[in-house]
Symmetry: C2
């Protein structure tokens, strides 16, 4: 089954304590698509400028990613620059140039409208809702959002939340959205806003998942080398939703496995700058690390 992702494709300038580079391929839809492509066909809807070249397209073309929803507009591709602190716990935005992304109006190509799963990456909630109107009853819809929309477009966000199944956000966003520090209480609040499944990403600490009668918690994979946290959350979402798209059932058991696959993709993402590690990642490595994740955390089957 295929998954549709709508979000940003960008050029990033990245400065980390160990590596740096300019104009590297980035954006939430990029990390999501590359990660999801290990499990399923991915349909991308995004916008880029005239500076987007065949070199960047090729990164997607090597995977089962359909770029026929990637619109090229007159102007420049969305650009973002970020710098990380020496311990990688703090990130400073150096610049944001929206470019053609500012006037992004997602248009879903006809052959994408029947995608089984849909993921609305972090864009204006009104655009997220607009995508929902263009697709034909996906089996499952997931979404991300951020502090910017929580603060500035609460009503539009509330409407969006009513129309999705799975919200994938980080712990600070969950706290802000719920107005509650305790994540267990915050999860109840947020689930009452619409999404039946809430997945809370906690960066280097792991993931919490809340569903009807289900709670699942897991760690992040401990890494000796972390180069660049950029895109880790979107890679998690891609691995998570991509694995779900690949499975018939979406029960608690499969959702748990999907969260581990999401964590695996997130852990690979941070091992090199930008999408470098994802680009040279193999399916075998993904499944090997899933097994390592089991070995790392299992006490139940002992």
């Amino acid at each position: 089954m295929s998954i549709l992702v709508v979000g940003s494709v960008a050029f990033d300038d990245l400065k980390t304590p160990t590596k740096q580079a300019e104009n590297v391929l980035g954006g939430a839809a990029t990390y999501f698509a590359l990660s999801a492509s290990f499990f399923t066909d991915v349909n991308v809807v995004a916008v880029v400028g005239e500076d987007f070249t065949d070199k960047e397209r090729q990164v997607f073309d090597e995977r089962p990613v359909d770029l026929s929803g990637l619109e090229t507009m007159k102007g420049k591709t969305f650009r973002w620059g970020g710098e990380y602190s020496s311990d990688l716990t703090q990130r400073k935005t150096l610049f944001t140039e929206l470019g053609v992304f500012e006037s992004f109006q997602p248009r879903i190509p006809d052959h994408f409208r029947k995608s089984s799963l849909v993921f609305l990456a972090n864009i204006h909630p009104t655009l997220q809702l607009d995508v929902m109107k263009q697709v034909e009853q996906p089996r499952l819809t997931g979404a991300d959002t951020m502090n910017y929309w929580i603060e500035r477009t609460p009503e539009e966000l509330a409407s969006m939340l009513k129309s999705i199944d799975v919200l994938v956000i980080n712990d600070e966003e969950a706290r802000q959205l719920a107005g509650e520090h305790n994540l267990v209480k915050a999860a109840s609040n947020i689930r009452s806003m619409g999404p039946s499944t809430l997945v809370i990403k906690r960066g280097e600490y792991g993931v919490l998942c809340f569903r009807e009668k289900e709670r699942f918690a897991t760690v992040s994979f401990p890494l000796e080398t972390v180069v660049d946290p950029t895109g880790a959350g979107d890679s998690f979402a891609g691995g998570f939703m991509g694995y779900l798209a690949n499975r018939e059932a979406q029960d608690d058991r499969v959702v748990r496995q999907a969260i581990i696959f999401g964590s695996v993709l997130g852990s690979f993402c941070v091992e090199d700058l930008g999408t470098e590690r994802l680009q040279r990642l193999s399916r075998d490595e993904v499944y090997e690390r899933y097994q390592e994740f089991k070995d790392l955390t299992d006490f139940a089957s002992l």
Copy 2:
């Protein structure tokens, strides 16, 4: 088998966002002993002042805890006051009055010297070493320490680390001791200083464990109500070491189970002020939450 713990017994003044109280029973050895007592006989060596009454003794007497190593000295029991921020992530020490603890010289009673396991709670590393000289080849020795000793008594700490098997510290202490932010690298550094097993407590985020060929990672049990984090780390250590004392083998499998039992005790500890929750905790509840921990985290046996 029995476990010997040497550390502080104290009176605490605690201020949390939801509850507060003065003169409540506290101290590392207290939390440790109460938690370990669910699994094994506990021998306590500590010092208190003349203000320590039968009321406090009774808390221990209801459990398999032997207080014959609890020395009463002329003067006042160690007192500590702490206040937590509204989200419980920050703690401010309001006062510290060492009292009789200042001249604490651990004397191990004869019938404690053959304790199978020994735990050196957070005291001066020279005193920890002194305890090691008084005991007769315990099967396993664990220890805790803190930033104070890492900064001020590095040589004494280095000697202590050479003589123990298991170091149980928190993530910030691990980073400081190793001079390395990345915990995987920090763990290698610390294990080369002596302890073959390193257990890193990450508060609300969980626990990492590093051994020869073994890495284990787990989450903390998500709680809807957290009243008071005081003593959570010592309760973890007590549950962890207590469970180990109860088991013949100390292989990777048993150590993993011990870490979960430690986490279970830590999670109960924070549910009420001071030792209140531990005092009314039952063995059935401990084993029930161990099972809930399995249900919460298991994906390997699915």
